[in-house]
């Protein structure tokens, strides 16, 4: 034998190390799951112990309440798309050297960030009719959420646009592309990639904030829970169901968002 086999790690040891590491990880995950199950179980057990929980009612009404999740998701999907468009225009205007555009967009951002979302919702649904603008509950809710999130996302997009290397804009300009084309074809597509994780975060936050539009009778998750709960004096059960569904939705969308982020991280950049 000419190869110095003595200097090579003996495979059995390596396998042992890998196996022990794997075991430690499995053990960690096991503990983690155990603690969650125990805590949630204890919480539920405590609730049930009060003897106030009408399980039968919950089973009967769960489909009606959970059905509201469809409206919640639909409203949020439409709103996040509109908010993204608003944010793109807002960001471009905020970075513009045109005083009028800059003024409009910064007023927008300041106004929205300076007032509560609930007030904005009320304003659109209850106050606008006084000015002759009457919107149904769902469009009003969508408008309020888009308008509100659009302002916050304006800042995100501005940061995203600024994060695109200056050389990209210069290369496009040097090819004779006019300003608008540079923005649309070169800067924005890259900015969107940069801000997609942030949009995901906002979408998840919006799922929860959208509960506020139950106050203007949009028949989403919380509205349905309250409707059913107050009818039968089962508010606790109804809210438990609603909370569980919100939680589940955020877990599901967070999972997809994580995967998306990982894919972007190793994507073509």
């Amino acid at each position: 034998m000419t190869t110095p086999s003595a200097t090579i790690q003996p495979p059995p040891l390596l396998a042992e190390i890998i196996e022990s590491q794997r075991q430690r990880r499995r053990w960690f995950r096991g503990q983690f799951a155990l603690v969650w199950v125990a805590l949630v179980g204890a919480l539920l057990a405590a609730l049930w112990a009060t003897d106030n929980i009408d399980t039968e009612w919950m089973v009967t009404w769960a489909p009606f309440i959970v059905g509201g999740a469809g409206t919640t998701i639909l409203v949020c999907v439409i709103s996040i798309v509109l908010a993204t468009l608003l944010a793109i225009f807002g960001a471009i205007a905020r970075m513009s050297s045109n005083a009028i555009l800059f003024a409009i967009s910064s007023l927008y951002v300041s106004l929205v960030r300076g007032t509560p979302l609930l007030v904005q919702i009320y304003f659109i649904f209850f106050a606008l009719p006084q000015m002759g603008i009457r919107l149904d509950a769902v469009p009003a809710g969508i408008l309020a959420l888009s308008f509100n999130y659009g302002a916050y996302m304006t800042e995100i997009f501005r940061a995203g646009i600024q994060a695109v290397p200056g050389g990209q804009r210069e290369a496009a300009q040097a090819l004779g592309m006019p300003e608008a084309l540079v923005m649309r074809r070169v800067v924005l597509p890259q900015a969107v990639r940069i801000v997609i994780p942030a949009i995901g975060n906002d979408f998840i936050a919006m799922i929860k904030d959208s509960a506020l539009i139950s106050t203007i009778a949009v028949q989403e998750l919380l509205w349905r829970a309250q409707r059913a709960g107050t009818r039968d004096f089962k508010t606790l059960q109804a809210l438990l169901i609603a909370a569980a569904v919100y939680w589940l939705l955020t877990i599901i969308f967070s999972y997809f968002q994580d995967r998306l982020e990982q894919r972007m991280a190793r994507g073509d950049r």
Partner: protein
Amino acid sequence: MTGAEPPDHGVRPASATSGYQPESSLPSHIGEPIVKVEGIHKYFGDNHVLRGVDLEVRQREAVMVIGRSGSGKTTLLRCINFLEEPTVGAIEVDEVRVEADPLHARDRRHREQIRQIRLRAGMLFQEFNLFPHMDVLANCIEAPTRVLGHSREHAIERAEYYLEVVGLAEKRDEYPSRLSGGQKQRVAIARALSMEPKVLLFDEPTSALDPELIGEVLGVMEDLAHSGTTMIVVTHEMHFAQEAADRVVFMEDGVVIEQGPPEQVLNDPRHEETTHFLRRFLDR
């Protein structure tokens, strides 16, 4: 180099605005002036970076600009296609003439003129600046289709031709992230060529490259120079300058100190500053 110099050179004026070569000494392949840099000054705040630069580049001429760091080479190149707005002076490329007008840099007419210059002067950057969200072919047809209004088929045909020129035809469907630095710069050259500009401006196109990748890019550039592409190249690659240049321009402190055929400027400089600069180079 042997001392075989053209006999009629005479001593050039030492001023910053020293003229280009007399017609009689021009090699026959060189044509009419196509780029004219006229009395360019550039201030960055109080920093007077370009102090009156005049330069004419003729058709099919390869001009290499050398000079130490901070002498204003990059700024000069960026002023030619108005990535920097000159403070004073005028630029003319292929009969489009634009006067420096920093106060009215945002006027629509002025901007359109600048765009016309950019269409005629392709630019290559140290960092390549390929569009990472487009594949190689898309990089090369983006501006021809959307700016020049070429049909997609025509643009693809031209792009494929120029990718062939830089030796990367088989990479047309790759994304830039999957290319080496040298390949990226070659694609950037193909992208610039796809606009069929009158002149190419190179700003140290190999200085961001690993040493073993420099050669492939310089090779492409040398081929372009020898096949009559008009180009202005800022470079520190002296061997390349000697091989590919029709003229070498030495800059210092924002002025052109000396210019002439490579064998003269690089081997027998007339000015002390040039000698100084070249000697420093030797030491490194």
